[in-house]
C-alpha cells in the first residue's frame, strides 16, 4: 500500500490538530512518532522536544493550519514501508494574552520521513522543520 499524498495530508492534519487545536500533551504527540523520545529538528536552530512543542502551543489560541499545495513524496523502501514527504503547512495563531492582538502567520517547511507500521498507521521517523517564513504583518514569536 503506497504512501500517498492523501496519507500525508491526513497525517499532517491529525498531528497539527493534536498539537495546535487539541493542545495534546507530549505523551499524546509521541504517539505520532516511531520513537518515543523524538524531536522536531528545526534546521535553523532550536530543536524542540515534544514537551517544548507542547509549551509553545500552550501560549497560543485560535490556531489553524492547512497544507499548502501538494507534498513531494519519495518512496524509500518497502520493508519497512517508508517515504520522504516534503511540503509546506500554513500556520496561524494568536498569543494567549493578546486576545485582540495580531495574528501569527507563518509558512512552515516540512521535511519528514514516515513509516507505515503493521497496523497501517503512519508514524514520523524523522521530523524536520526546514524553514519558518513569517508573513510581513505577522506577530512575532520565537521558536525555541
Amino acid at each position: 500500500m503506497a504512501i500517498t499524498n492523501e496519507d500525508i495530508v491526513a497525517l499532517a492534519s491529525a498531528f497539527h490538530d493534536a498539537s495546535m487545536v487539541k493542545k495534546s500533551t507530549a505523551a499524546e504527540m509521541a504517539e505520532f512518532f516511531l520513537y518515543p523520545e523524538s524531536r522536531i529538528f528545526v534546521l535553523h536552530g532550536g530543536d524542540l522536544t515534544l514537551q517544548a512543542n507542547y509549551e509553545i502551543h500552550q501560549k497560543l489560541v485560535d490556531e489553524i493550519h492547512w497544507t499548502v499545495g501538494t507534498w513531494d513524496i519519495t518512496p524509500l523502501s518497502d520493508h519497512p514501508e517508508r517515504a520522504r514527504a516534503q511540503g509546506i503547512v500554513y500556520w496561524q495563531g494568536r498569543h494567549v494574552d493578546q486576545a485582540d492582538g495580531a495574528l501569527l502567520k507563518c509558512y512552515v517547511g516540512e521535511d519528514w520521513v514516515v513509516e507505515r507500521v503493521p497496523s497501517g498507521e503512519l508514524k514520523f521517523v524523522i521530523y524536520v522543520n526546514s524553514f519558518h517564513r513569517f508573513l510581513p504583518d505577522a506577530a512575532p514569536i520565537e521558536i525555541r
Binding site: H44, G45, I126
Partner: protein, 142 residues
C-alpha cells in the same frame, strides 16, 4: 567561523575512527552528538541506536574509512549550523572470515551539524541515506 568541508572531513574521520577503528562504546560515540540518545537514521529502515551501532562494529575487524566528498550548505549563524551531504568509503571484514572476504561499500550521508561555543562540531541529525556495496564485496547485514 564558517563550517567548511575540511571541518566535515575532520568530523567524519574522528567519529568513524571512534566507531570503526577504536570500536568505542556508545558513551564515547555520544560525545559527537548534540542531543542525548540520538538515533542513527538509516533512510530505508533499520535505524540504529548508538548501542546497536557499537554491537554491529564489534562483529567486524580491519575497518578502514575515508571521505569521498562532501557538499556543505550553511543553514544559520546562531547557532551556527550546516548541512553536509556526502559519502565515505568503508572497508571491513567480519571477524573469523578469510582476509580476502572484505566488505567494501560507499556509505552516503546527510548530516546536520552545529558548532558549539567551544568550537567543536556536533551532529544534530545523522542520516545514512544508503549503502552501495562494490562489486566483489563480502556481504553484511546492516
Amino acid at each position: 567561523m564558517a563550517i567548511t568541508r575540511d571541518d566535515i572531513v575532520a568530523l567524519a574521520k574522528a567519529y568513524l575512527d571512534c566507531v570503526m577503528v577504536r570500536q568505542e562504546p556508545p558513551s564515547e560515540q555520544q560525545k559527537f552528538f548534540l542531543h542525548q540518545d540520538p538515533t542513527l537514521f538509516l533512510l530505508r529502515g533499520e535505524d540504529m541506536t548508538l548501542q546497536q551501532n557499537y554491537d554491529l562494529h564489534q562483529k567486524l575487524t580491519d575497518e578502514e574509512h575515508w571521505s569521498v566528498g562532501w557538499d556543505v550548505t550553511p543553514l544559520c549563524d546562531k547557532p551556527e549550523r550546516a548541512r553536509a551531504v556526502g559519502a565515505f568509503y568503508w572497508q571491513a571484514r567480519v571477524r573469523g572470515r578469510p582476509e580476502t572476504e572484505l566488505i567494501k561499500a560507499y556509505c552516503f550521508q546527510d548530516w546536520i551539524v552545529q558548532r558549539l561555543p567551544s568550537g567543536a562540531l556536533k551532529f544534530v541529525v545523522y542520516i545514512n541515506t544508503g549503502h552501495s556495496f562494490l562489486p566483489g564485496s563480502a556481504t553484511v547485514d546492516i
